[in-house]
């Protein structure tokens, strides 16, 4: 079937159909990105933290802008080449455009990689330390070295399960000591954990054992629920009558209806009489099941470890909370033992005290006492220069966001001496931040702050558009020759439509670059 108006213009619109289509699509794209830019404005004006400024490296963003502008020129040249029937030039320009798309994505990946390997610790007093982790190899660390973002729990002699939720998934975090250098080595496959139930029975703890225990608990709960429903229905008339009595003297008095109350009570009594047998049956069933499945009686089941206490090494993202003697997982498994290593190793590169109530007493100085004096010296210098420029703000300069940004957020390389800096950048001298000192810890991923959430969302979505556009343009390049020979104008129209999309991708970046990198 011949699709009409792919080459010539439709008389009523004056355009070939694909062009109308792409403009309608671009209009919807404008609304999509417009909504996201609107969200950015909301987040920025509503932020209850210092909105990051100049935190992203400008150069990669700047190079990417050049790359996209260059590719916009070449995609246009490709289209113009087709219009002038210069297929060779079309190919050359198209190849450059696609290479530009690849270069853009490579630079973007480099930026993302840098962010994902850059970490931030917000301390309980609001102080912030950004930096790098000395090592990402956390599984075989010595407690004296690095543990990444993991918490080690030893001497686990018991654990508690919630039979409605818990699974045996926590066992994947079990570790075993393989010598002083490898205190947290992986356990070999097939290792069995032997446990003692509350009744003193020793069993191999596994999914095969837990499954029937959980099923029995669920069955018991169902029967208990049936019993509760019957009891509730029997009790309900009595409760209604009590409510009626209370309503007589309430804020909005309702006269007591004695006849209705009497009828309700009579109904309740009748229901009770007719349900006695059923209640007795259910109670007997519950007693029998509890006797047959003693582990399933209560929602929480505590199991004692038989033999050598266990050791676990748990990723922060895998547990819900922990304290000195317990780790609770998201499925309500609670391990009881002793936390032996939960420090966060960091080689800091930025100190940010804008959210610290008293910078003099910041927790940062506990870890970097040698930087306290240079920090405040730098602060004084910044303040002097600021007041020289803004004399009118002598009394309220501390509220000025620019002053805060300059004086209270410093890159360590700005204030540390060369020797100190070399020392700080040495992995062996990484500081170990106690977890009790931290309020929040993450890499520079969307979870770091709403700024990074919207940054990754918008640049990520833009990146997907770059990939999509590059695929379409590659298709035109690889399959275009046949169409060019048959009808060059048709190919030119296709490239024009693809090019319009490509310009839109460039256009979005023209806003993204200053908004995220410069302003």
């Amino acid at each position: 079937m011949e699709i009409p108006y792919t080459v010539t213009a439709r008389p009523d619109t004056g355009l070939y159909n694909a062009k109308v289509g792409i403009w309608l699509f671009l209009a919807s794209e404008v609304m999509l990105f417009g909504g996201l830019f609107s969200s950015y404005v909301f987040l920025r004006i509503g932020a209850d933290f210092p909105w990051p400024r100049h935190e992203l490296h400008v150069l990669p963003g700047f190079i990417n802008t050049m790359v996209l502008i260059g590719s916009s020129v070449t995609v246009l040249s490709a289209w113009a080449s087709l219009k002038a029937r210069r297929y060779g030039w079309f190919q050359v320009n198209m190849v450059i455009t696609i290479l530009c798309a690849l270069a853009f994505m490579c630079i973007k990946s480099y930026e993302y990689y840098g962010k994902f390997h850059h970490y931030s610790v917000i301390m309980v007093d609001g102080s912030v330390l950004d930096g790098h982790r000395p090592s990402d190899h956390a599984d075989e660390y010595s407690p004296d070295q690095y543990n990444g973002d993991k918490v080690a729990l030893t001497e686990v002699k018991s654990f508690t399960l919630n039979l409605a939720k818990s699974t045996t998934g926590f066992l994947k975090h079990q570790r075993i000591s393989a010598g002083p250098d490898k205190p947290y080595a992986e356990v070999s496959a097939g290792t069995v954990v032997r446990v003692r139930t509350p009744e003193g029975k020793e069993v191999d703890f596994s999914e095969a054992w837990l499954k029937p225990v959980k099923r029995a608990f669920r069955d018991l709960e169902n029967i208990r629920s049936d019993l509760a429903i019957i009891t509730e229905r029997i009790e309900s008339p009595k409760k209604q009558v009590e409510a009626m009595k209370a309503a007589v003297t309430g804020n909005y008095p309702v006269p007591f209806d004695a006849a209705k109350a009497e009828k309700l009570l009579a109904d309740g009594a009748a229901l009770k009489a007719s349900s006695l047998e059923k209640i007795a049956k259910l109670e007997a069933k519950i007693a029998e099941m509890e006797k047959d499945n003693p582990e399933s009686k209560a929602p929480n089941l505590t199991l004692q470890v038989a033999g050598t206490p266990l050791t676990f090494l748990v990723n922060e993202r895998d547990f819900a909370k922990y304290n000195a003697g317990e780790i609770s997982f998201r499925d309500d498994v609670v391990l009881t033992g002793k936390v032996v290593n939960d420090a966060i190793p960091l080689m800091a590169d930025v100190i940010d005290l804008r959210q610290t109530k008293d910078p003099e007493k910041s927790l940062v100085w506990k870890y970097y006492p040698q930087l306290k004096e240079p920090f405040f010296k730098h602060k004084e210098e910044v303040t002097g220069a600021f007041l020289k420029k803004h004399a009118a703000h002598a009394n309220d300069f501390e509220k000025d966001l620019d002053w805060q940004h300059e004086a209270l957020r410093v890159e360590i390389e700005e204030i540390a001496s060369k020797e100190e800096l070399e020392n700080i950048e040495e992995p062996a001298h990484a500081i170990n931040i106690e977890r009790s000192d931290k309020r929040f810890y993450s890499n520079f991923s969307p979870s770091r702050s709403p700024y990074y959430a919207i940054y990754f969302l918008m640049t990520g979505l833009h990146g997907l558009h770059v990939i999509g556009g590059a695929i379409v343009l590659s298709y035109f390049l690889l399959t275009g020759r046949k169409m060019y020979k048959r009808n060059p104008e048709h190919l030119a129209n296709r490239v024009e439509v693809g090019g319009l999309f490509w310009h839109f991708v460039d256009l979005v970046w023209i806003f993204l670059f200053p908004v995220f990198y410069l302003l």
């Binding site: 355009l15 309608l24 417009g34 050049m66 129209n493």
Partner: protein, 119 residues
Amino acid sequence: MDHPSETSAVHGDHDSHGAPIDLAKSIRLYVKVGVLLIIFTCVTWGVALIDFGSHALNIGIGLAIATFKVSLVSLIFMHLNHERGLIYKVLLFTVILGAAMMFLFVLAFMDPIKAALTH
């Protein structure tokens, strides 16, 4: 590298609205606009480093330059300087709705519940 066949060149060397196309001239124009865009990108970076006394002013100037660059891309690269009426009609709604979205944040200052609580 292929060269255009004479026949196709005769029939094809026009833009989408029928105007004749001169490859060298077109590419020269696109390159000139590209260079202009690059220059203004540098200006945006430079402006971001200058202290205008108010950060809001920096933001305003930065966005004004970005808007100018976007206009260049739309008018020259996307040929909106000589497009058919239908496209302008579609874009009119897009521009109005898009611009309205940029001012939705005003609603954040008009929270009736917050106002009721503070009065």
